[in-house]
């Protein structure tokens, strides 16, 4: 203990969070019950694999992972924004802007690093505007980011009405290259996810993100930077969307301003919320976000592999969203029951008065 030493001796030993060492099997069950979407995901993959034999083939997986990586890169800061009690609807257009800016620079002869950096910077700028308007000026994040969604799309189209295309391999490697067989976008996404996970759980500022989301006023009174934190998260979200745009463009080898990332914001939000991040703020984990993003990516893929026809695909994917969130919620309840039953059993062994 730092600082003060109390004169009175400390009485009563601290209760540890886990009073009993639990067997591995119990913990595995617990883990799965706590992550129902993961179970659903695994079940889906297994079934689709059995039915089609195609999902786990590397080429297919590689395609899915590339899609998923792009969603994940944008979803990570987006999730943190939602955890902090805000929302960012503008990522689809910011992605387009980032992609178009990179494409234009490359077309005009800029090098890959410069194009990537400027695209990220432009994305960060959009994010900073969102952050300024919402975190500092206190405007409704839904309206503000809906506004930037519209405005930034128009700006990207104005900037380059035609799609820049045909970039050199030094650039397209970013979208389709691989290191030791792992696609580069997937590596980038993995680094971002891990960094964000560490930040959120292991650093004080990461915990402050949660505090701001749960109770902004209490956080403010406790000296937490209730404005700077969401501001930087928005900026980060913009930068990440810009990067996602660069990767998309590198993958497509073309940067059509009106078509890049349309509807992307809703996919990202759906993945984030499916992954257990609560729209009310203060709840969520990077692990959950990854599962959510994978689920979204594999869902579309599964439907295509299963040969579900067009309109049925819409119906099925809408229903799957609802089912996924429903299963998550109901196993939440199951989990409560399990814990209750288990502690009851334990309590039967140790009389209540001993506490």
């Amino acid at each position: 203990m730092t600082g003060v030493s109390f004169t009175k001796p400390v009485s009563g030993k601290p209760v540890s969070g886990r009073p009993f060492a639990r067997p591995v099997a119990t913990r595995a069950v617990d883990f799965l019950v706590r992550n129902p979407l993961l179970v659903l995901l695994i079940a889906m993959v297994v079934l689709v694999q059995i039915a089609t034999g195609a999902q786990l083939n590397w080429q297919n997986l590689r395609g899915v992972l590339l899609d998923v990586a792009i969603i994940a890169i944008a979803a990570v800061p987006c999730a943190m924004i939602v955890i902090a009690g805000y929302i960012d609807l503008s990522v689809g257009s910011t992605l387009a802007l980032g992609g178009v800016v990179a494409g234009m620079l490359l077309r005009d002869g800029a090098g890959t690093p410069a194009a990537v950096l400027v695209a990220i910077a432009v994305g960060a700028l959009v994010g900073a505007v969102n952050g300024l308007l919402t975190a500092w000026l206190g405007l409704s994040p839904f309206i503000v980011t809906l506004g930037t969604l519209t405005a930034v799309r128009g700006f990207a189209q104005l900037l380059s009405p035609y799609a820049p295309s045909g970039f050199g391999t030094s650039f397209t490697t970013l979208g389709v290259g691989a290191v030791n067989g792992i696609p580069i976008p997937v590596l980038i996404a993995a680094v971002i996810v891990i960094a964000a996970g560490v930040f959120l759980t292991l650093t004080p500022t990461g915990r402050h993100v949660f505090a701001v989301g749960v109770n902004r006023e209490a956080a403010f009174l406790s000296g937490v930077q209730t404005r700077a934190i969401p501001f930087w998260l928005f900026t980060l979200s913009g930068a990440a969307a810009g990067l996602a745009g660069v990767i998309t463009v590198a993958r497509l080898n073309s940067a059509p301003p009106g078509q890049l990332g349309t509807g992307f914001e809703l996919s990202v939000l759906a993945a984030v919320l499916l992954g257990g991040v609560a729209l009310t703020g203060g709840e969520g984990s990077m692990f959950g976000v990854v599962v959510g993003v994978l689920f979204m990516g594999l869902l579309t893929n599964s439907l295509v592999l299963l040969g579900v026809t067009t309109f049925w695909q819409s119906i099925a994917s809408g229903a799957a969203l609802v089912a996924a969130i429903g299963i998550s919620a109901s196993t939440h309840r199951l989990q409560h029951r399990l814990t209750a039953a288990r502690t009851k059993r334990q309590a039967a062994g140790t009389p209540a008065t001993s506490r």
Binding site: D67, V176, A178, P183, S254, L260
Partner: protein, 311 residues
């Protein structure tokens, strides 16, 4: 070891001919009425030829189109894909995956780098044909002077080409006509809303041309709602693509006077013929050029056009 990937780069050499049993038709504009028509006709055509056809569900989303194409590239049962690219360069980036997997890649409505074959029809040409029809009508009816509203589509490459065709064509065929406004509109609702608004500023608009026929349907309703008689002899409404209500109005002698479209039956036939031809080693099918038709009240096959959009 860093690899630069295999999605782009020079197309691989053509695989040896192999029979085509199953084709995928990648038609991304799932919300358009024409999607339904095309899917029906191609299915009928395929069934008649004893092959299977499947459709992607791209939901008008380029990323979705790319993912879906990527997924289909790995499907063993698929022998060929016909892709209507939302962005030809972007779709071009996956052509090679198909060829590496021994599948044929056929582009629809344009050229895609690395394709095995293409089913061509020119969007600029279609716009130009509509402008020609309107221009002729303007000089006949209005002595060359007319106020024109163009409902454009700048959201994608195809739309831009169509719009360009209309605008350039008007300059050519009706040099004295003025385009008083150009507004983005691709759905009937947008067409209606935009036309109503523009009519407030220019109540004397004579001609509305839409890059997307569905918007022309809205424009027609907007004109009628603004009090114009639905068979006003001095008004011209036209658009690209068929749209059943418009065709019906045309037949009924309303002010809908020109529509430009490909024939769904012909297209459906090509969609099946080209891959099957490739599979049989028939190189002559490589460049199918689909004719584009101007439909007017006088067209003898007007009923057939109407039927195509509603059965």
């Amino acid at each position: 070891t860093v690899s630069t990937g295999s999605e782009s780069g020079a197309p691989a050499a053509s695989a040896p001919a192999h029979p085509v049993k199953k084709i995928v038709f990648d038609f991304p504009y799932t919300a358009l009425p024409i999607y339904t028509t095309m899917s029906r006709y191609t299915k009928e055509e395929a069934a008649a030829r004893g092959i299977e056809i499947e459709f992607t569900n791209d939901n008008m989303d380029l990323n979705r189109q790319i993912s879906n194409l990527t997924t289909y590239a790995t499907r063993k049962d698929v022998d060929a894909v016909i892709s209507f690219a939302m962005d030809p360069n972007a779709v071009g980036s996956i052509v090679r995956q198909y060829r590496d997997n021994g599948k044929y890649f056929i582009s629809y409505g344009g050229d895609i780098p690395g394709q095995d074959a293409s089913i061509q029809f020119s969007f600029t040409k279609a716009g130009d044909m509509l402008a020609e029809s309107a221009g002729g009508w303007i000089s006949r009816t209005l002595h060359g002077k007319a106020k024109v509203l163009v409902l454009k589509d700048e959201s994608n490459q195809i739309g831009k080409e169509r719009t360009q065709g209309i605008v350039d064509g008007l300059k050519k065929y009706a040099p004295e006509a003025t385009i008083v406004d150009q507004q983005q509109a691709i759905t009937p609702e947008q067409g209606l809303s935009m036309t109503s608004t523009v009519l407030a500023k220019h109540p004397d608009i004579d001609v509305v041309l839409a890059a997307v026929g569905d918007a022309a349907q809205g424009a027609y309703q907007g004109l009628v709602a603004a009090g114009r008689p639905d068979d006003d002899p001095d008004t011209y409404v036209g658009g690209l693509d068929g749209n059943t209500p418009l065709l019906q109005s045309m037949k009924d002698g309303k002010m809908v006077r020109g529509l430009v479209s490909v024939k769904p039956r012909e297209m459906a036939k090509a969609v099946v013929d080209v891959p099957v031809g490739l599979g049989e080693g028939n190189a002559s099918v490589k460049d199918y050029n689909a004719p584009v038709y101007l439909i007017t009240k006088e067209s003898p096959d007007l009923d057939e056009w109407i039927k195509a959009g509603s059965e």
